[in-house]
């Protein structure tokens, strides 16, 4: 995974609470067995006027002019701004793949659903939660076109006027992201520790190790 140190980009506001992953990536696209190429389908039902499917070319569909992310002012945005409980519902990682493939590197929201939050970091997307007041402030600014610098190294978001907002992130998460570490490779460094644990666990709880047929 590419390292994430700091990122500068345009903010696209999505003024909705409880955006669920069914809305972010509708079910028909979960049939694919690839891991990239979901960008045209993110927010599909809201984004287009006509319904879509895997075989339908998204360029042949009419964009919904009322959908917030279709506004000309937000084209090229790489920071998504949302409200509380973003990414709730299904664990489908396709939702994160869609947002990532749409070009977003950062999501800033009041709060995130647990599984979605993890999925973001596993795909190099920085998910940041801020207070409701801070989010409100950013929504106000975003309407007029807002560019932010998100500095993971310093854990701050820098506004155009130089003012900054500090954000929290678990130190291990930050570290991994700064270095672009692969989770599986990192865990496998502890291979021996896992093996020893497994041996002890099996000795104490042999009934968890019955072979399924």
């Amino acid at each position: 995974m590419a390292a994430f140190i700091s990122h500068q980009g345009l903010v696209a506001p999505m003024d909705r609470a409880n955006v669920d992953t069914d809305a972010i990536m509708p079910k028909q696209y979960l049939k694919c067995i690839f891991k990239t190429g979901y960008g045209g389908w993110a927010f599909d039902d809201w984004r287009y006027l006509d319904s879509g499917d895997v075989e339908i070319d998204v360029n042949s569909r009419r964009p919904n002019p009322d959908f917030e992310l279709n506004q000309p002012a937000y084209q090229g945005a790489s920071i998504l701004l949302a409200r509380e409980n973003f990414g709730c519902g299904s664990s489908r990682e396709h939702a994160v793949w869609g947002i990532r493939d749409m070009g977003f590197r950062v999501i800033i929201a009041t709060s995130f659903a647990d599984i979605f939050y993890n999925n973001c970091f596993n795909n190099g997307i920085l998910a940041i939660s801020l207070t409701a007041e801070q989010i409100e402030r950013l929504f106000g600014l975003a309407e007029l076109g807002l560019r932010l610098t998100v500095d993971l190294d310093q854990t701050v978001i820098v506004l155009p006027d130089g003012e900054y907002m500090r954000f929290n992130i678990e130190p291990k998460r930050r570290e991994k992201m700064l270095q672009g570490l692969d989770n599986v490779a990192t865990t496998l460094l502890q291979r021996e520790v896992i093996r020893i644990f497994e041996g002890q666990h099996k000795a104490t709880h042999p009934y968890y190790f019955l072979t399924l047929r």
Binding site: R16, D22, C88, D114, L188
Partner: protein, 478 residues
């Protein structure tokens, strides 16, 4: 030092390394299905990594399998992409020698119905599955949670999950549920109280006399919907009900190993002096039969009530959320739930696709007829074994005689990835767990209810208060 919660105990037993902030925990059981596993196996292959412990994995296709024409096998698929995904699961399970209930195996079914009925989900285990409703298995005093595809790959490769420890919440439900009020109504009521994010960051333990008096099926329904309140895991302490259910299940330990297991399992309860970060007490008597009106699982009211007035919203954000939901559902504030005319009825899913659910439906519909205004009412058993059991009890005959369809096992119209779906604008009474926009088909309108309420709605053509409905005497509870 204060005692440990059930969650603390299971966490502690599986902690490989690290601390509460950033731990590596060992995973005992990994359940996989076709939709969220293909990319994980692909990732393993690309990195040249083996599966760490393939005998911990159980697989079955469920999300996109057709619920008709099962005798045709894969030829019954109309959707080529769905077929490819199921075939990919076939290949991955073959290659890695993973226990697999294929499409035509009589044990095939929804992952969260199959795991429990096979005894593959055992008390004290850590269980993961690339599906958010993995919380279901917590009913057996397990730490069960849904994970994303990258995490599926991580568990396949390392048998571990990187994780931060959750906070502890306990929801105590005390007293007796009213006649006609089920585990489904109970959990919908809880979600309405907590909100869809109220449980975020917590492991929720359900306790109290009401929970203890629930059957295993009812407990599974409660834990299943934990994720709809934002919590990844829901748990219920081990007791005699758990033990009786598991004894004799195919994958449960036998003989001496069973004795040894049971001895340990009996310790899987929260200590009396355990500290919870948050506690909630609910009186069972206060709970009415529930119906969801909106597009989020916390937008729920008693069936005797109405769509709430916008003035009742707690703030501007919620008000606009409600407005959007009313618009999508084609409802206005103050409309009575019993006045809503329905187009379809769906009974099934990992929330309510077990044998007790089917029995409840049979009780309600026996000797009656589905209303002519209902375009389709279907009952989809959660697994092949549930289907067999129901047929052995003659429930399928009662159900089809009343004009409902009787299908093969799968997720079906819970998420409509297979051909079962709502047309745009259709209104549906559904026993599933999510009423999100488009969940059961683009433009479809979902109302979440219990199986008995769904069955009664199929007969009436609109929602009715199940407490006013006459039931056939088939024995057992609703």
């Amino acid at each position: 030092m204060s005692g440990q919660t059930l969650y603390d105990k299971i966490w502690q037993t599986h902690l490989v390394s690290g601390d509460d902030e950033s731990a590596l925990i060992y995973i005992d059981r990994h359940i996989i299905h076709e939709v969220t596993s293909a990319q994980a196996f692909e990732g393993l292959k690309l990195a040249g990594r083996p599966v760490w412990r393939s005998d911990s994995v159980l697989a079955t296709p469920d999300h996109q399998v057709p619920t008709t024409d099962r005798e045709k096998g894969k030829a019954g698929f109309v959707d080529k992409l769905a077929l490819l995904q199921v075939s990919t699961l076939d290949d991955n399970c073959d290659e890695h020698q993973i226990a697999y209930f294929k499409l035509q195996d009589h044990r095939q079914g929804i992952v969260h119905v199959v795991g429990p009925e096979q005894g593959a989900s055992l008390p004290g285990m850590t269980i993961v599955c690339g599906d958010s409703h993995t919380s279901t298995h917590g009913a057996f005093a397990t730490l069960a949670q849904g994970i994303g595809t990258s995490e599926v790959e991580h568990v396949l490769a390392t048998q571990c999950l990187q994780q931060k420890k959750c906070k502890n919440m306990r929801i105590r439900v005390e007293g007796q549920l009213q006649f006609g009020v089920t585990a489904k109504d109970l959990i919908l009521h809880i979600i309405a109280l907590l909100g869809t994010a109220g449980g975020t960051g917590y492991a929720i333990e359900y306790a109290g006399s009401t929970i203890q008096s629930l059957s295993m099926e009812g407990r599974l329904t409660v834990c299943n919907m934990t994720i709809e309140a934002g919590a990844r895991s829901g748990l219920i302490a081990y007791d005699q009900v758990t033990e009786d259910y598991l004894r004799g299940c195919p994958y449960a330990p036998k003989g001496e190993l069973w004795q040894q297991a049971v001895k340990y399992w009996r310790s899987l309860v929260s200590d009396s002096d355990a500290k919870f970060d948050k506690e909630l007490v609910i009186r069972a008597e206060d709970i009415q039969p529930q119906v969801s009106w909106g597009t989020k699982p916390d937008q729920v009211v008693p069936v005797t009530s109405t769509v709430p007035p916008l003035t009742a919203a707690k703030d501007a954000v919620q008000r606009s959320d409600w407005q959007r939901a009313m618009q999508y559902m084609a409802l206005s504030e103050g409309e009575a739930m019993t006045a809503l005319k329905l187009d379809q009825v769906f009974i099934g899913s990992c929330t309510n696709g077990r044998i007790e659910d089917i029995r409840a439906v049979a009780k309600v519909v026996k000797g009656k007829q589905v209303a002519p205004s209902i375009k389709r009412a279907m009952v989809v058993p959660g697994s092949g074994l549930v289907k067999q059991q129901a047929e052995a009890e003659g429930l399928d005959k009662i159900i089809t005689a009343a004009g409902l369809e009787w299908r093969y096992a799968g997720c079906s119209m819970c998420n409509a990835m297979n051909p079962d779906s709502l047309a745009s604008g259709e209104r549906c009474a559904s026993t599933s767990n999510r009423n999100f926009e488009g969940r059961q088909g683009q433009g479809g309108r979902t109302h979440l209810v219990s199986p008995a309420m769904a069955a009664a709605a199929a007969i009436a053509g609109h929602f009715v208060d199940i407490r006013q409905v006459e039931l056939a005497s088939l024995g057992g509870e609703l």
